[in-house]
Amino acid sequence: MKYETIIIGGGLSGLLSGIALARAGRKVAIISAGQSALHFSSGSFELIDSEDNPLAAIAQMPSTHPYQTIGLDAVKRYAEAVPALFAEAGVEVSGSVEKNHYRITPIGMAKSAWLTLGDYATLDNATTLPWRKVAIVNFDGYLDFYPKFLDNFFAKRGVDTVHHTLTLAEFEHLRESATEMRATNIARIMTGDLLSKIATELRGRIGDAEVVFMPAVFGMFDAEAVSALRSQVRVPLYFIPTMPASVPGVRTQIQLKNYFQKLGGVYLLGDNVCGGEIRDNKLISVRTANHGDMEFHADNFILASGSFFSHGLIASQEHIYEPIFGLDIVADQARSEWYNQDLYAHQPYMGYGVVTDERLRCRLAGKTVENLYAAGSVLANQNPIAEGTGGGVAITTALFVADQIINA
């Protein structure tokens, strides 16, 4: 089979580079080994965790960081372009490159963010809130929402809270099972009449609360349930992310995938790229588990296979490696160097990944593979969690490599 570009990995990076290429009229296929980490998304994307101008903070990063590789201008250009691109796919976000906002986490922390899905409240600063009284509403038996911790968040900021628990007959069926009261299962039944019923309950209960917070269990395949519910409640209604899987995260994945397919892209799910043929510093084709000897040929390839969670990198007892091509990577030799004993300190393993040239082309045995680009968390020298750069690197490097291919 022949495509112009083949993308290995169907998460945020793979999808965005795929969308950019397909928009430019390229024939693209994405091969994805299972569903992506977008399914656990907080609902926000971070460019960099910084109180000040994010771009100024990026300018201070080490020269090896992917942001520095693609350059500050590129980061700014792609970051500014992405909300419109998301909007085309039906993903509504707010936020700005100039200044971070804050979001409320499931356990009641304020965390800085660059773009946030429309489901969630965005705060101008971490300490003062624009409300005096908020209502926190959960569903009876739902364990992945923590009113006590949210209460703490608001109390620390001098905001009064009222709590309500909705007991809904429609949940009885779900609750027969010990594990069904999870966000995505609830989201499945959140349609039509049930939404109206919830809206009625809310209207009757929230009193003088200026805003309502509920768990993010609405709108798995599209945002219809969110807008339907909001339109029936007279005060602003915001959601709080839940533990996995994240309903807005699943929705974002589906929306981006659908848009990619609508643009003519081919999305192959549940397949593993097992290897490829590299000749004269060019990747000729890749082989997959499902397609066996029907190889995928392409002019260009993008490696967006993620980090350890997605098996873009593998750690064995002895060493760390990139499993598909055995590409050159950054990683410490000794196992004891991979981690820090404090879970919350900088974890060296997070910074491991493939090395590239200035155009994000991968290297094999010291030589650049001329048509194999890397994007997202498979790239070395970043720490998505400690730096708060995960979403930003995924998005900007994806659009950067797409442009490298389009403009080549």
Partner: protein, 541 residues
């Protein structure tokens, strides 16, 4: 604090391990007014950091007949009194091609001398009995080994001590003693988190602190020569073997593989460490590699099995009093009457021994305490089942099948006490921990009844967070429930933060493969999505 009737006891037992809990139970059952104090949580020391092997004593038969006979006799007692903590798995002592087969004959002979039923098996039969065993074995002996859950065992002793009137104080460290001339009259405690101080008085004080006993004795002004011996172990992700597998040779590294509840354990290494490192519980990469390499000789499948955790514990090796150099070490039970030994009245140290002999140690210490107090009550602990292990009419098979998975799991964990776990409604039956099948009902039961102050306590009482994902999915849920129960969000959040760090401590020595993927996922969730890293992590446990 003034000495009043309220804070005066017949006996204060220091140490919330199996020995301390067992001693408190024995004292309380004999009608003594008893207080149990523990610096952290029950089982936080060596009790919660061993194999969980219900020794038949075979391992000691060749080198230490006395320990061997103590083991087999306690083994049989625990099968009766602690049914819900014990699994009667049986055990094998295997000989590999590189081992000396002639050791087997000596081994069997020594077992028989100690009263341990050791039966030589054809290697083929041993492989049929335990398919995971190394197929290269050239010899096998069957012994009545089993598995014992030290968390359950200790909790059951604590619960029974309380049922017999004992008072329990956790998270209070002994910082000094009330001394009146040559007699100890009380203990000074300090709460390890709040720093609040208190004093309790007793006629007899029993030091049951394991390796920490040397320090406690020093506070009392007496010297016990102890040598800390560290042993490291690995926990595998599932039950690899159903029969305990031992190596039939002189005790060495990683020669016991024990199935325990949903997992299997290989251990141990053995190394002397300085006394000031007894709280560190580090496991080095070298120890992990030795455990894996040697463990795979017992059961080759271990080489391809996911490892959940590495951990280590510290055994107290007590030097004989006539040999302060430490060359003559006793591995048996050491019960010191400090009045006799050091001229200090009202103070007993019970140490040495092993998890297997905790009850016997408790009996000896309590006998001595009774003697000092002039009481004559007899020990009943060898005959009286622990709460959860009472004989009931054997449940009909049908009944078991009708139980849901989490109810079956809870019954396994709490025995007959599981009847107090509220169930049969959607709220109580919902799962908190999916890996270990822990329901909301069980979590609430533990919070209300089993001295739970934090998530680590909760884990030890229920197995919540002990499964494949090491708390990644359930820690937050459990924190939600605990926060609701204790009403303090900040404390619960810092507790959640230290709980996850404590889980990580057992994961980083084996942080490759699925473990590294799992912790990256956990970090995304808790740091990335939740922002837990904004909490300042307090002291671990």
């Amino acid at each position: 604090m003034l000495q009043t009737k309220m804070n005066h006891y017949d006996v204060i037992v220091i140490g919330g391990g199996a020995t301390g809990a067992g001693t408190a139970r024995d004292c309380a059952m004999r009608g003594l007014k008893t207080l149990l104090v523990e610096r952290k949580d029950f089982t936080a020391g060596a009790t919660g950091r061993n194999h969980g092997l219900l020794h038949s004593g075979a391992r000691y038969a060749v080198t230490d007949q006395e320990s061997a006979s103590e083991c087999i006799s306690e083994n049989m007692i625990l099968r009766r009194i602690a049914r819900h903590c014990v699994e009667e798995t049986g055990g094998l002592f295997i000989t590999l091609p590189e081992d000396d087969l002639s050791y087997q004959a000596k081994f069997v002979e020594s077992c028989q001398a100690a009263g341990i039923n050791a039966e030589v098996l054809d290697p083929k039969e041993a492989i049929r009995m335990e398919p995971s065993v190394n197929p290269d074995i050239i010899g096998a002996v069957r012994v009545p080994d089993g598995a014992v859950d030290p968390f359950r065992l200790t909790t059951a002793n604590v619960v029974d001590a309380r049922l017999h009137g004992a008072d329990i104080i956790t998270y209070n460290e002994v910082v000094g003693f009330v001394k009146n001339q040559n007699r100890l009259e009380g203990v000074n405690l300090r709460h390890i988190r709040t720093g609040a101080e208190s004093t309790y008085y007793a006629d007899v004080i029993i030091n049951a602190c394991g390796i920490w006993g040397a320090h406690v004795a020093e506070l009392a002004g007496v010297k016990i020569n102890m040598f800390p011996a560290k042993g490291a172990l690995l926990i595998f992700g599932h039950r690899v073997n159903s029969v305990v597998i031992n190596r039939c040779r002189k005790p060495a590294d990683a020669d016991i593989l024990v199935p325990g509840d949903t997992i299997s354990l290989i251990g141990t290494t053995s190394s002397r460490i300085p006394y000031d490192e007894i709280d560190k519980n580090e496991v080095t990469p070298e120890e992990v590699d030795v455990l894996l390499r040697e463990g795979s000789r017992l059961a080759p499948v271990l080489a391809n099995t996911r490892i959940l955790r590495a951990y280590s514990g510290v055994r107290p090796l007590v030097a004989a009093d006539n040999d302060p150099s430490g060359r003559s070490i006793s591995r048996g039970i050491v019960c010191l009457d400090h009045a006799e030994r050091d001229g200090l009245e009202g103070f007993i140290t019970i140490t040495g021994g092993k998890l297997m002999t905790y009850r016997l140690m408790a009996e000896w210490a309590t006998d001595l305490a009774c003697k000092k107090l002039g009481r004559t009550a007899h020990c009943l602990t060898a005959k009286t089942p622990l709460p959860g292990s009472e004989q009931t009419e054997s449940p009909k098979r049908k009944h078991i099948i009708e139980l849901s998975t989490e109810q079956k799991a809870a019954e396994g964990r709490h025995g007959t006490m599981s009847r107090y776990i509220s169930s049969h409604n959607a709220n109580d039956d919902a799962l908190v921990c999916e890996c270990e099948q822990v329901s909301v009902g069980e979590i609430n039961y533990a919070i209300e009844n089993l001295h739970v102050h934090n998530l680590i306590n909760l884990r030890r009482r229920t197995r919540m967070g002990m499964g494949t994902c090491q708390g990644e999915l359930c820690a937050c849920r459990a924190a939600g429930l605990l926060g609701k129960a204790n009403g303090c969000a900040e404390r619960t959040l810092s507790d959640l933060s230290s709980f996850l760090n404590e889980r990580w401590k057992g994961m980083y020595p084996i942080a490759w493969g699925e473990t590294l993927a799992e912790i990256q996922f956990t970090s995304w969730l808790y740091n990335g999505v939740c922002g837990i890293n904004q909490m300042v992590t307090p002291n671990k446990d």
